[in-house]
């Protein structure tokens, strides 16, 4: 059907767009990876927190009348709100469950996806919500004759910034080092007199903050609705797995594979684009059963 030749410019542009989509996937799944890697919690509620992030972004930005400032304020506040919610969740309930089976933790976080979904419906109603990027991020500029949305460029800049921040956090700070050590051997860290529980709380909150940040960043590009949580969570899990559990760079690589196979799939075989990312996951796992990069566990 699609006989028109694929020009190099179009391909390059598709790659860039795919990469900007990768940014959102990366931010969300790196948070998931952190929680999964260090706390070993398969947090299905991660997607819900992403959704809450998007809704809060909408509310905050609207409060300031969808101005440029409003968006920036939302970008700062929304992830913090999500982090606060997750802190309450962790200190209040989750921290009592750390010695349970992984599957029970899965059940617990699943229960929260149900609760969050209905809470969001109660607070924000079920209408579509839509948020506009500030004026300086709207529209597009020409890239080799094809339009490239400014917002995508913004995302392309945000992605590496977040990755860098995470890298500094895990490699250069005390808490990051403890967290990495705890991921490998929890008893060991406990034994040298560090309060692992506090470290876990911090890691959980950071992970959820990233979910909120992803939700905030994605808000202007799509309509904010219930059901956002469903779509992202399965993709995030697959990304974390193919990248290598608990590995930040793995999350980046996995997200890139997901974003790019999706974007390029559309160009080469639009009818079956939906299948490409899943195929990629299957192939990766068949060749490297424990993910592409070194998994923590």
């Amino acid at each position: 059907m699609h006989s028109g030749g694929i020009t190099f410019a179009a391909l390059m542009q598709q790659v860039l767009v795919g990469l900007s989509r990768t940014t959102i996937l990366f931010i969300v799944s790196s948070g998931l990876s952190l929680v999964l890697g260090v706390l070993r919690i398969p947090n299905v509620a991660h997607g819900s927190l992403y959704m809450i992030g998007a809704f809060v972004t909408f509310s905050v930005a609207n409060f300031y009348g969808q101005t440029g400032f409003g968006f920036i304020a939302a970008l700062v506040l929304a992830p913090l709100v999500v982090a606060a919610v997750s802190l309450v969740l962790e200190r209040g309930l989750l921290c009592r469950l750390y010695d349970r089976e992984h599957l029970m933790l899965l059940l617990f976080t699943f229960a929260f996806t149900l609760i969050f979904a209905d809470l969001v419906k109660m607070i924000w109603g079920s209408d579509y919500r839509s948020l506009n990027a500030p004026a300086w991020l709207q529209g597009s500029f020409d890239l080799a004759g094809l339009p490239f949305p400014r917002y995508s460029l913004f995302l392309l800049i945000m992605g590496p910034l977040v990755a860098l921040g995470l890298w500094l956090l895990t490699n250069k700070t005390r808490i990051g080092k403890i967290a990495r050590a705890a991921a490998v051997d929890r008893e060991m860290v406990d034994a040298i007199g560090i309060d692992v529980s506090r470290v876990f709380a911090a890691v959980f909150v950071i992970g959820c903050y990233l979910a909120g940040l992803g939700g905030a960043l994605v808000a202007p590009t799509q309509n904010i609705t219930q059901g956002m949580d469903h779509t992202i969570i399965i993709e995030a899990f697959l990304i974390v797995i193919i990248g290598g559990l608990g590995n930040i760079w793995g999350a980046l690589l996995g997200a890139a594979i997901f974003g790019l196979t999706d974007a390029i799939g559309i160009l080469v075989w639009p009818q079956f684009a939906i299948v490409f990312p899943y195929m990629a996951v299957v192939i990766v796992l068949l060749i490297r059963p424990r993910g592409l990069l070194k998994a923590i566990w």
Partner: protein, 313 residues
């Protein structure tokens, strides 16, 4: 109590229960028969998952795909071919088992989460094919008005059929769980490495377990078609798989009847609470959290433990 004695008692109790359920067909209004049929179908599905999840320790994250395969296979045979219906009822579980074998061959060497995730990816591929192949599977509209044989086409007939088939399948699964294979399977769940060391072919057993679980999920799929007369791609979407998983955990995944109970709880909650408030998922969520805190091994797991403690004292 002598073991032979308990065996006979168990058989009698099981037959009695099945007979009791069948008698209900005479007294209950058909809505409740429908609801019971739905609970039993879902319960059979959850039990089949628990065969590998609770007894095999395998993270079977996409079990619904086998359920859907069974249902679609029967639906397609009944609507698109002139083959006799019983052939469809036979072929459907076999098709599910075959898919279980193929997916198992690819996934079984992976461990825990990786196993589950590869299964989700493969299952999603199957789902995508069903979802897009409009001319064959009806795409996302599904297939409706499936001509189920007259005898089991009425609500009462369907109910009786579901009771009999579920009863038979549960009996067979119970035998499997208590057989040497079942015991070895629990051993593999607890400690696969040790099993290898005592001479057990772990991957072989896991593969066989998956094929069996897929087979019974396929049976559950045919029951769904009998009860509802419809199939649709939702039946093999990953969210349903997660729901079944939740049923197992909720009812008690180290017990045989736990998943059945979990299925009953979720179906009933959905129907009863759903007719009072549209926020029934919120209620379900809160119930789940309470259960996690107060009944960590699931409802039945807790009941059984309570019984053990009482017996111990």
């Amino acid at each position: 109590m002598k073991p032979e004695n308990t065996g006979i008692k168990k058989t009698a109790a099981a037959l009695g229960t099945v007979a009791g359920f069948m008698l209900l067909a005479l007294i209950l209004p058909r809505y409740y028969l429908y609801l019971l049929a739905l609970i039993l179908t879902t319960g059979l599905l959850a039990t089949s998952l628990n065969l590998v999840l609770g007894f095999g320790g395998m993270y079977q994250f996409h079990h619904a795909v086998f359920y859907g395969t069974g249902a679609y296979c029967l639906a397609l045979i009944l609507t698109k071919t002139g083959l006799p219906a019983w052939l469809g009822y036979l072929a459907a579980p076999l098709a599910a088992a075959l898919l279980g074998l193929i997916m198992g061959l690819l996934t079984v060497r992976l461990s825990a989460l990786y196993f589950g995730m590869l299964q989700i990816s493969l299952g999603s591929l199957v789902w995508a094919i069903v979802y897009r192949w409009y001319s064959f599977t009806g795409g996302d509209d599904g297939i409706h008005g499936i001509p189920v044989p007259d005898l089991i086409g009425t609500s009462r007939g369907a109910y009786l059929f579901v009771v009999l088939v579920t009863g038979a399948c549960l009996a067979v699964m119970y035998r499997i769980v208590t057989s040497p294979f079942g015991m070895v399977f629990t051993g593999i769940r607890d400690n696969p490495e040790r099993c290898r060391a005592v001479g057990i072919n772990v991957t072989g057993h896991q593969l066989a377990g998956q094929v069996m679980a897929a087979f019974f999920a396929g049976v559950a799929g045919t029951l769904f078609v009998t009860v509802e007369g419809s199939v649709f791609p939702d039946m093999m979407f990953w969210t349903l798989s997660l729901e079944i998983l939740i049923m197992c955990l909720l009812g008690g995944w180290f017990t045989f009847f736990g998943p059945l109970l979990g299925a009953a709880i979720i179906v009933v909650l959905r129907t009863v609470v759903g007719s009072y408030t549209e926020y029934w998922t919120l209620v379900l969520g809160v119930v789940l959290i309470l259960l996690i805190f107060f009944l960590p091994e699931g409802v039945l797991g807790m009941i059984r433990r309570g019984g053990d403690n009482a017996a111990g004292k």
